[in-house]
């Protein structure tokens, strides 16, 4: 990594529009992951698995088509009623033949569907690991709250007779958080198709697109989990709340794209995503947020889309628009076991474990490299800081392309029109994020004792667990593992509140038991004892800092742009 990009990176963080994505949506940010772009080798591994799953998908489509055609031939040759079929099956060879074809096709389609589902679920495991997409906790406090367990699904729809059937257009949607219980990811997130993208600013199917889909649905998961934590159940969401949630989910996707661009540009690569692709999600988020605000002001109690004027209605929020469950229960593993496809499952699982290990190793290597870079750049940044500061703010890779001057959305026009007639209520105030200086990674502790380091971790965990980078946490944790557990040790540190005290005790317990804790575990421990405070950030930048809690442009440090040291 060169020095200059690193310096620009801090400046970029300071003025990035990404932080304007703070939202009032009822989402519990603590449940969200801290995703980042997978290394190229890992992306290639995932893409290879996607390519390998494509023939299975085709096999399913063909088996399904034979099922559909033979069903028609059975109706033609054997009649439509059960009695007719019973008689004709005895009399007609072609009827018997078609019934056999139909039954075989039904069985084949079921097995092919199970194989595709199983293979793609394995890919999801790789994706979650490679992009760090798992939420900090996969379930809320309540045992009844949904578990985070994303799975692959074909798109199912209800026909005019009320029966569930496969949707003809499998490329219509990326995923869904179905009925607030289960994240389903659809084929469109995986398979490339030259002409399939109606909007060309969308991200092409593949590993990156899959990460976006998973993150989007995880935002819905976080919102639902918060509802469970607060109420013990999921209250009926009002129309504006659905839109706020959607805005947050789209904003998160845009943020992730920007983050991935930064990951690459810091490493000296070209930004993989264009401003138009990022703007695609920002525009959607803006539209949803504007609409949510209008509806909250004018129709705060509306729940169903039919309670809204047509201009505000969205088909995707109408009941049933996102249904994707089958009529009969379907368990891919059970189907494959019944079909004696154990060898297929074993081969898939072995391959997944192998690739998971490779991803683990590659992440470990990257962590070590980043740690070295961070240590080096810490010393150089102080030397170059003034030069960076004098160079003034940088708008980043998107500057000069005019994306900040995009035309206002339809809803903004509508809002203007309404506001000329109706005096608006004051916009609901949102708490401004507290300006904090960018965190910097520290070297491995030399002087402090293990207990002192644990006390420091406890304080960080209760204040802002993500102000410490994963790399640093790992290093510190390796150091404190094996610390001697003492009951009254906490008294020597003068903790200011119960959260710090209890978190310290828990961390000490884990360290003395030589548990393998991660930063996420530390955050979840502190979360149990924390009573209030601002929501923690979603993302961490690649070098371990924190971009969500960076100051707003208007809240830059007083020394800007002549800062020499920010911390």
């Amino acid at each position: 990594m060169t020095r200059r990009p690193l310096l620009c990176f801090w400046a970029l963080l300071a003025v990035s529009p990404a932080r304007s994505s703070w939202t009032t949506a009822p989402v519990d940010w603590e449940y969200l992951p801290t995703p980042r772009r997978a290394a190229k080798a890992d992306r290639d591994r995932i893409q290879n698995r996607i390519d390998a799953a494509r023939p299975l998908y085709k096999e399913f489509i063909n088996a399904n088509q034979i099922k559909v055609i033979s069903e028609g031939m059975v109706s033609e040759n054997c009649g439509t009623s059960a009695f007719q079929r019973f008689v004709w099956e005895y009399l007609s060879t072609s009827c018997r033949r078609d019934l056999t074809t139909w039954n075989d096709a039904k069985r084949d389609a079921r097995i092919a569907e199970a194989k595709t589902t199983y293979a793609i679920n394995q890919i999801l495991q790789l994706e979650v690991k490679a992009y760090n997409l798992a939420p900090i906790s996969s379930q809320g406090i309540m045992s009844t709250s949904p578990r985070w367990n994303p799975a692959f699904s074909f798109v199912w729809e209800t026909d005019s007779s009320g029966r569930k059937r496969l949707a003809a257009d499998q490329g219509a949607d990326y995923g869904v958080f179905q009925q607030g219980r289960q994240i389903l990811i659809f084929p469109r997130s995986f398979f490339k198709d030259v002409a399939n993208l109606t909007d060309k600013a969308q991200v092409e199917p593949g590993a990156d697109r899959l990460a976006l889909s998973l993150l989007h649905e995880t935002v819905h998961f976080a919102a639902t989990t918060k509802a469970f934590d607060d109420h013990g159940f999921r209250p009926v969401r009002r129309a504006y709340e659905k839109r706020e949630e959607e805005a947050a989910a789209n904003e998160a996707e845009a943020d992730l794209l920007e983050l991935m661009n930064r990951d690459e540009t810091i490493n000296g690569q070209q930004a993989p995503f264009t401003p138009a692709q990022i703007e695609h999600f920002r525009k959607k988020a803006r539209d949803y947020r504007t609409q949510a605000k209008l509806i909250r002001d004018r129709f705060p109690d509306a729940v169903y889309e039919t309670q809204l004027p047509s201009v505000y209605r969205h088909r995707e929020f109408a009941k049933g628009a996102h249904e994707s469950s089958r009529e009969e229960p379907f368990d891919a593993i059970e189907v494959l076991r019944e079909a004696a496809e154990d060898a297929f499952m074993r081969a898939q699982t072995d391959e997944t474990n192998r690739v998971l290990e490779e991803i683990q190793q590659s992440q470990e290597r990257m962590r070590q490299r980043n740690a070295q870079e961070t240590t080096r750049s810490n010393s150089t940044r102080r030397g170059y800081g003034s030069e960076s500061a004098r160079s003034g703010p940088t708008r980043g890779p998107m500057s000069g392309n005019g994306i900040y001057d995009i035309p206002f959305s339809d809803l903004e026009i509508i809002e203007r029109a309404h506001s000329s007639a109706v005096s608006k209520q004051a916009a609901s105030a949102r708490p401004a994020p507290t300006p904090t200086a960018p965190a910097t990674a520290r070297a491995v502790p030399q002087g402090p004792t293990r207990h002192q380091e644990l006390a420091r971790l406890a304080r960080i965990a209760c204040r802002d667990p993500y102000s410490i980078s994963e790399d640093e946490f790992d290093r510190v944790w390796r150091f404190v593992r094996g610390a001697v557990s003492k009951t009254d040790e906490w008294k020597t540190f003068g903790f200011s509140d119960a959260c710090e005290r209890e978190t310290f005790n828990e961390l000490l317990k884990g360290a003395s038991a030589r548990e393998n804790y991660s930063r996420s575990v530390m955050a979840s421990i502190a979360r149990r004892f924390r009573t209030n405070g601002p929501p923690p950030p979603i993302y961490t930048p690649p070098s371990g800092g924190n971009n969500r809690t960076e100051p707003e442009p208007a809240q830059l440090p007083p020394c800007w742009p002549n800062c020499v040291h920010w911390n």
């Binding site: 085709k58 060879t93 401003p275």
Partner: protein, 294 residues
């Protein structure tokens, strides 16, 4: 009793001989029965490509004006996924459709250079999905993934063409402005929204080197040809097709002779043992040429 039995046997023997001697109508198409018995090597379906002779401006992302069509070359019904004929989109239905293009030096050009994104997402042309009445009205089988069309023997099916209709692509399509905001109370708002729409679209297509649409043709998107000269183009379609019998003369016989005749034909392998034949195909269109001008 014996006489009755004898006469029944004679009648059955006569009917048996009649069924076996009955000849199917002669098939004059190049591939009479696709893969009957697994020995056929002919392609039951052909892919055609027509290219306009009008020169294409260099550097434009909307380049080759062309038309694609499928033709059934067999005497069976051929069911194929024709999603791409509808609006150029695939429905992830398992079949793949790709273009091969060679530059004036005969070197293959790798993929569209500007597939993503065309900024902003403004489209100058739109598929006329009502253009081909066969594509518009064909009944889609319930539960099928993709758009499968059963071509009758010899039938040719052309793709929909495009017309000039600049618009913004939106993955949340909304109603028309007039339907969305009815009544005079919204007239000002409607006008504002329409004006904003128009400005976005006008700004979006500015600078694109566009040609007037050709009736009956569609345009290739994303490939940008910088140097002038004569290029070659070919289409490839890969996927599965399903063949089934088109004519079943025995079905027109009265009951129970229709069943008897059918059983006799199946027993003597005169009709395929399975009602459906699946065939994996890789269809290539003829190679055509087009000209890129400065």
């Amino acid at each position: 009793m014996l006489a009755a039995g004898l006469s029944s046997a004679l009648l059955y023997a006569g009917f048996y001989a009649f069924v076996l001697s009955h000849e199917e109508p002669a098939c004059e198409l190049p591939c009479p029965i696709p893969d009957h018995g697994g020995k056929s090597t002919c392609a039951p379906l052909s892919l055609d490509l027509q290219v306009s002779s009008r020169p294409i401006p260099s550097g434009s992302i909307y380049s080759v004006w062309h038309q694609i069509s499928f033709q059934n070359q067999s005497c069976s019904n051929i069911e194929a996924d024709v999603s791409v004929l509808l609006d150029g989109r695939s429905r992830l239905s398992g079949s793949e459709f790709s273009y091969l293009i060679w530059d004036p030096d005969g070197k293959p050009i790798a993929g569209p250079k500007d597939r993503l994104p065309f900024e902003p997402s403004v489209e100058p042309y739109r598929y006329d999905t009502n253009g081909n009445p066969y594509l518009r009205e064909f009944p889609q089988r319930p539960g099928a993934v993709g758009f499968w069309y059963a071509l009758r023997p010899g039938e040719r099916l052309d793709g929909n063409s495009v017309r000039f209709d600049p618009h913004m692509e939106d993955d949340h399509p909304r109603d028309d402005r007039d339907a969305e905001l009815p009544g005079s109370a919204y007239s000002r708002l409607r006008a504002d929204l329409k004006a904003a729409d128009k400005k976005r679209v006008t700004d979006g297509i500015t600078g694109m080197r566009l040609l007037d649409p050709l009736p009956g043709y569609r345009v290739l998107e994303g490939w940008r040809f910088e140097s002038a000269g004569r290029y070659r183009i070919q289409l490839i379609y890969e996927g599965s097709i399903f063949a089934s019998r088109h004519t079943a003369w025995e079905k027109r016989l009265p009951f129970p002779l229709n069943i008897l005749a059918e059983n006799i034909l199946i027993a003597n392998a005169r009709i395929p043992p399975s009602g459906i034949i699946e065939k994996k195909v890789r269809l290539k269109s003829p190679t055509r040429e087009f000209t890129v001008a400065r």
